[in-house]
């Protein structure tokens, strides 16, 4: 991917991908350095500052308990990005091997792996996530694990399709003729050439993870209250919508910024990968 960004990619796609990476990188950096970059603690209650509108010192205003909205948003990014990284990471760990085996083996093994995954994909993602959360409870880790369960079949399907397309290429036959063992064939020759669609899918899934975490927390089946989460902040802010619209405006914009960043990365990569599908999804 870095090689592609430096050389092979046309400027127009590189611009979009780089801009997306810049947005995501800046947000991740802010979240990582949260306590040093924001004005004040995200949990410190100051009743006399409750519902104070945005000022230069507190550009996002104060919430109903007088907590700094900016501090809370930046700290909430830790949850958003953590859930996105964790869920996509876990889904890749489970989905890539499953997809590789299913795509390379085909036949009965393919059926045994893919049919149960089809069942998981027969539910709308958010419904499956809600059902899983209702059984296993709430919390940051469980949100990430539930999302990973929802994502694994999607990753496996993309990997399987990529493997099916790559494994008939001449260089794979060549490596096989030279006597490469199956694991080497799959890991050295097939997987690297199937990497780009997997990367595109991973950035799309990151964007969706941020949306779903926020939705689940907003609905009360995601992250638990003391942890700052953008979805929880929106749920809290609904009650003060008229007196303090900043309580609902900024958490939403924050969600959008992160999702937009990942979507830009995905779009740039996809356009470069497949000019036919440019910007169509």
């Amino acid at each position: 991917m870095w090689r592609a960004l430096r050389g092979g990619m046309p400027a127009r796609h590189r611009g979009l991908t780089l801009a997306g990476l810049l947005v995501v990188g800046a947000l991740a950096l802010a979240a990582a350095l949260a306590s040093t970059v924001v004005p004040g603690s995200p949990t410190e209650i100051a009743r006399d500052l409750a519902l104070r509108p945005p000022t230069w010192a507190q550009p996002f205003g104060m919430d109903d308990l007088g907590r700094s909205m900016l501090s809370r948003v930046v700290h909430a990014y830790r949850v958003s990005l953590g859930v996105a990284l964790g869920s996509v990471g876990l889904a890749l760990l489970a989905g890539v091997p499953l997809g590789l085996v299913a795509g390379y083996a085909e036949g009965a093994l393919d059926q045994i792996i893919m049919r149960p995954l089809d069942v998981l994909m027969s539910f709308p993602a958010i419904l499956l996530a809600i059902a899983l959360m209702s059984v296993f409870g709430t919390g940051v880790v469980l949100v990430a694990v539930s999302l990973a369960v929802v994502y694994t079949p999607i990753v496996a399907r993309v990997v399987r399709a990529a493997v099916l397309a790559v494994k008939v290429e001449v260089y794979v036959d060549g490596a096989r003729a030279l006597g490469a063992a199956v694991p080497r064939l799959v890991l050295r020759h097939i997987l690297p050439n199937a990497a780009t669609p997997i990367l595109v899918q991973a950035s799309v899934l990151m964007a969706i993870a941020i949306l779903v975490e926020a939705s689940l927390s907003f609905l009360g089946v995601g992250v638990r209250p003391p942890t700052p989460s953008l979805g929880l902040m929106l749920a809290d802010g609904r009650g003060f919508m008229l007196q303090a619209p900043w309580m609902v405006i900024f958490p939403g914009l924050a969600i959008m910024a992160a999702v937009l960043g990942f979507n830009m990365v995905a779009d740039g990569l996809r356009d470069w990968l497949d000019p036919h599908q440019a910007a169509g999804r």
Binding site: A131, S134, L260, H276, R281
Partner: protein
């Protein structure tokens, strides 16, 4: 065509069975005794035993599953733990709300997304195209529940144009019914319209390069006629497919939208049941929504085959 449709339908049966096993198994993984969860910690041992007996909680799990499945196949989804209401009745009462919401949202999606895509794709690379692409990218990234809150803030609390929630049955007052559904349907539709717009643009651009379009242009046909008579019918296949998939996703999105706009639909019932730990209702509601999602996808598949003869052979 018939055999293609029949094959798709037959494939759906094992999928549906798999879904029912998954949901049933999941609900049996709930930690703790459901009888205690319902009756509370002051429950007497006799009370718990009676409830376990009434809901067959002491039978072997496979037997419980088969009993549930058999009854569900006859349309009997059992009773809920709390009010002892028949769950089938509860679902039927709330289904029309969700169906109307999803239907209206699908209509809005098509009416906004397709023209947006045509506008962009008709003049590739121009200012309109770039603006439409940017709108599409932002639209895809807006969380729909936040959009709903913003619409309430601006159009209903701010400008006082539309109600911020509530439900009036169509039979009672068709006008009020539509007025109450306008904001929820728009909330559900806007981000999906952005996706559809992006896809329509791609499909139009793809078709524009085909030989028959160049032939039509060589014949001296105007750009407008080319777009509507030759390009759009051919671009319709991916557009219809994606719209169908989106109707499916809307069933998931409806959960959040019904909650924000206090609509008494299936999604809100499911969420309430999850929050109240009313597992028999969760179990049935998730299965019904999942089955609807699958049916919509199935219908899309079959429709796809009907429009494009090339697909049937796969």
């Amino acid at each position: 065509m018939i055999s293609y449709a029949a094959r798709r339908v037959l494939l759906a049966v094992p999928l549906l069975l798999g879904m029912s096993v998954l949901i049933f198994g999941l609900m049996r993984l709930v930690p703790g005794d459901p009888a205690v969860a319902v009756l509370g910690y002051k429950a007497t041992p006799e009370g718990i035993a009676a409830l376990r007996e009434a809901f067959h909680l002491d039978d072997p799990i496979p037997e419980q599953y088969l009993r549930w499945l058999g009854a569900a196949a006859r349309g009997d989804l059992g009773h809920d733990f709390r009010q002892n209401e028949p769950i089938g009745r509860m679902i039927l009462d709330r289904l029309p709300v969700t169906l109307e919401l999803t239907g209206l949202a699908a209509l809005c999606t098509a009416l906004i997304g397709v023209p947006l895509g045509l506008l962009a794709g008709g003049r590739r690379g121009g200012g309109t195209d770039r603006a439409a692409l940017a709108v599409g990218l932002i639209g895809v990234s807006i969380p729909d529940f936040w959009l709903g809150i913003m619409l309430i803030l601006g159009l209903s609390l701010g400008a006082g144009l539309l109600p911020s929630g509530g439900w009036v049955p169509f039979a009672e007052s068709p006008v009020e019914n539509l007025v109450h559904l306008t904001l929820p349907a728009l909330t559900l539709a806007l981000s999906r319209a952005a996706v559809l717009g992006r896809l329509t643009r791609a499909a139009v651009l793809d078709t524009m390069h085909r030989g028959f379009v160049q032939y039509a242009r060589a014949k001296g046909l105007g750009e407008r006629a080319i777009l509507f008579r030759h390009v759009l019918p051919n671009a319709a296949i991916p557009i219809v497919t994606v719209l169908g998939l989106q109707v499916g996703y809307m069933l998931g999105g409806a959960i959040v939208v019904e909650m924000i706009f206090t609509l008494p639909g299936l999604g809100r019932m499911t969420l309430d049941a999850v929050l109240e730990r009313n597992y028999p209702v969760v179990q049935s509601a998730v299965l019904v929504i999942g089955a609807m999602f699958m049916l919509v996808n199935l219908a899309t598949d079959v429709l796809y085959g009907a429009i494009d003869a090339r697909m049937r052979r796969r």
